[in-house]
């Protein structure tokens, strides 16, 4: 017994307690629910069986019902549009800004740091602000676009079915851009200066230097940033209730918000769980890419 306590204080037991407490907590509140989610997607869940663990099995009926739902393909399309345009926008703008702020001028680091406020703000507040900027009648974005001569008539960003998904995409690009920029800046700073000097001596122009030095040297950073962008976009939820609530007529609905609507608006927990499982498969693919691109650093 004394040896046991001694190990707690001074040996491997100490490490096991430290790591074990967190692991047990995470398993109970993240691992277990994940398994439970998969179980629920194969069960019939209604108000009467909500309190039971062993409910009548439903086989694949939940999956069939979700895929056959009239909005399924629309939501799938929206999810893909939302994820890929958000990622592309965040990455391209983030990379351009990172390249710009990599120049040597006074205050570069401080001003770059200011961009990160978008990342610490509550998602719902960001949604509220953009909801007002994008308002159709009195929104300031329409005024600016009109003054610049880009549009003739105001665009009803949130209520026009052709634009509703783009309203959320714009807000999401704004939200995620700064984090992308910050991570890419770190990658840029790690490229040795003398590579550029040597290339310059060899007569390479700015574009050639970018193409043959910056991009290859940034490969693992870009991989990590893109997969973190994918994960972050799939996690995005708060902007939807704040901006469009998935409407009008599901034209801005995505998988994550749809799953929540199923469970908490329609109280159809089985279908909510089913959509969640489908989405989880997507996230799994993204995270395998992410872990692979950070692996050399994980192995230290």
């Amino acid at each position: 017994m004394a040896r046991f306590f001694n190990s707690m204080r001074d040996g491997i037991g100490f490490d096991l307690i430290l790591v074990g407490a967190a692991m047990v907590f995470l398993l109970a509140l993240a691992g277990l629910p994940l398994v439970y989610n998969i179980l629920m997607s194969f069960q019939q869940v209604d108000m009467f069986t909500l309190g039971d663990l062993f409910r009548p099995l439903a086989g694949l009926t939940n999956y069939v019902a979700v895929v056959n739902a009239p909005e399924f393909w629309l939501v799938t399309k929206n999810t893909l549009i939302f994820v890929f345009t958000s990622m592309a926008g965040q990455f391209v703008l983030g990379f351009s800004l990172a390249l710009f702020f990599a120049q040597n001028f006074p205050g570069a680091a401080t001003i770059r740091g200011l961009f990160l406020v978008s990342w610490v703000m509550p998602g719902l507040v960001v949604g509220a602000i953009w909801s007002w900027i994008l308002a159709g009648d009195f929104g300031v974005l329409n005024t600016i676009l009109k003054a610049m001569g880009i549009i003739e008539a105001p665009i009803f960003w949130k209520s026009d079915p052709n634009f509703s998904i783009w309203a959320v995409v714009i807000a999401n690009i704004w939200l995620g851009l700064a984090f992308n920029m910050l991570l890419l800046s770190v990658g840029l700073a790690a490229i040795p200066r003398d590579l550029y000097e040597a290339a310059e001596l060899d007569g390479a122009n700015a574009f050639q230097r970018f193409w043959t030095i910056t991009l290859p040297m940034m490969r693992s950073t870009i991989g990590a940033v893109l997969s973190l962008g994918l994960i972050g976009t799939l996690q995005q939820f708060d902007l939807f209730p704040a901006l469009t609530e998935g409407g009008p007529a599901n034209t801005s609905n995505v998988a994550g918000y749809w799953a929540w609507q199923m469970s908490f608006k329609l109280y159809d927990f089985a279908k909510g769980a089913t959509i969640s499982v489908m989405m989880f498969v997507l996230v799994l693919i993204a995270s395998v890419v992410y872990v692979r691109s950070t692996r050399h650093e994980v192995r230290g």
Binding site: N104, F105, V125, S263, M279
Partner: protein, 275 residues
């Protein structure tokens, strides 16, 4: 253009870019100071004609923000306490050893980091319902949100512990400290700043937590400020100066902390997120 002017020229561009990027924030504050009729002026005014601060106290009392903000502080404190208490030790062990098991643990944590809250909320809600935890909704939200926040915290704090020289800890052990002693007397004080920054980040992000609170807490007196904001926000909202005043009261403390600690937060993030 001659060489010495280039940096100042770049600085001017940088300031313009920052102004464009931060315009939404400016617009929030300006709108909140406008009168009810001025917000619908066409074209909109970019500076309020008659800045009116009285909307702040009126929104504060009308929307019972005192309760909402207090609940947000409670939930964020609970999440931060659990995350720091459990996450710090875990990050320390993951930083200290290299083995297959440690790699596996780290892999699991990276996987948990990516689970969307919208995927987790359905099973969590049904599970909490079966356990009776829904009768203590704020506790339920704290537990769920802590599980969401912890993986990110562990990844960041692990990077901090990696930067503490191993030799210092070994020297303490040779001097007769136990592992516990070396951990509390040597390693923790050296990693204190990094842990503090990560704890503040955790607090800020759970201060804005929305999806779990919205789904789990039905009682208005226990809801946090994010749910309170959603109460008068929707595709057809029009009470914009009140909404913006509410938002401004809600985010100004976060923004103030961020601006004060900007340098530390940025360096804490960059050391952890990619390593």
């Amino acid at each position: 253009m001659t060489r010495p002017y280039v940096p100042w020229f770049l600085l001017a561009i940088a300031l313009t870019l920052a102004a464009v990027y931060l315009f939404p924030l400016y617009w929030m504050y300006v709108t909140s100071l406008k009168s009810g009729s001025e917000i619908f002026a066409n074209p909109p005014t970019f500076w309020p004609v008659e800045p009116d601060l009285s909307i702040y106290p009126s929104v504060w009392f009308r929307r019972t923000m005192q309760t909402f903000m207090w609940n947000s502080v409670l939930i964020a404190s609970g999440v931060t306490a659990i995350t720091v208490l459990l996450g710090t030790g875990c990050a320390y062990v993951l930083a200290r050893y290299r083995s297959g098991w440690i790699d596996f643990g780290l892999f699991m944590i990276l996987m948990l980091q990516v689970l969307p809250a919208s995927v987790m909320i359905t099973p969590l809600f049904v599970g909490f319902n079966q356990l009776g935890l829904l009768n203590y909704p704020r506790t339920a939200v704290v537990l769920a949100a802590a599980a969401k926040a912890m993986p990110f915290f562990v990844v960041l704090v692990r990077a901090t512990f990696m930067s503490v020289p191993r030799e210092l800890e070994e020297a303490a052990l040779v001097d007769g400290n136990s592992r516990i002693g070396a951990f509390f007397n040597i390693v923790l004080p050296l990693a204190r700043n990094g842990i503090l920054v990560c704890a503040i980040l955790t607090f800020m992000s759970s201060f804005g937590e929305y999806i779990y609170s919205k789904s789990i807490i039905q009682n208005g007196a226990m809801q946090p400020a994010s749910v309170g904001l959603s109460g008068f926000l929707g595709p057809n909202s029009s009470d914009w100066n009140s909404i913006m005043a509410y938002s401004a009261i809600y985010v100004t403390p976060i923004l103030a902390v961020f601006v004060l600690l900007q340098r530390r937060i940025v360096s804490g993030l960059t050391s952890g997120a990619l390593k």
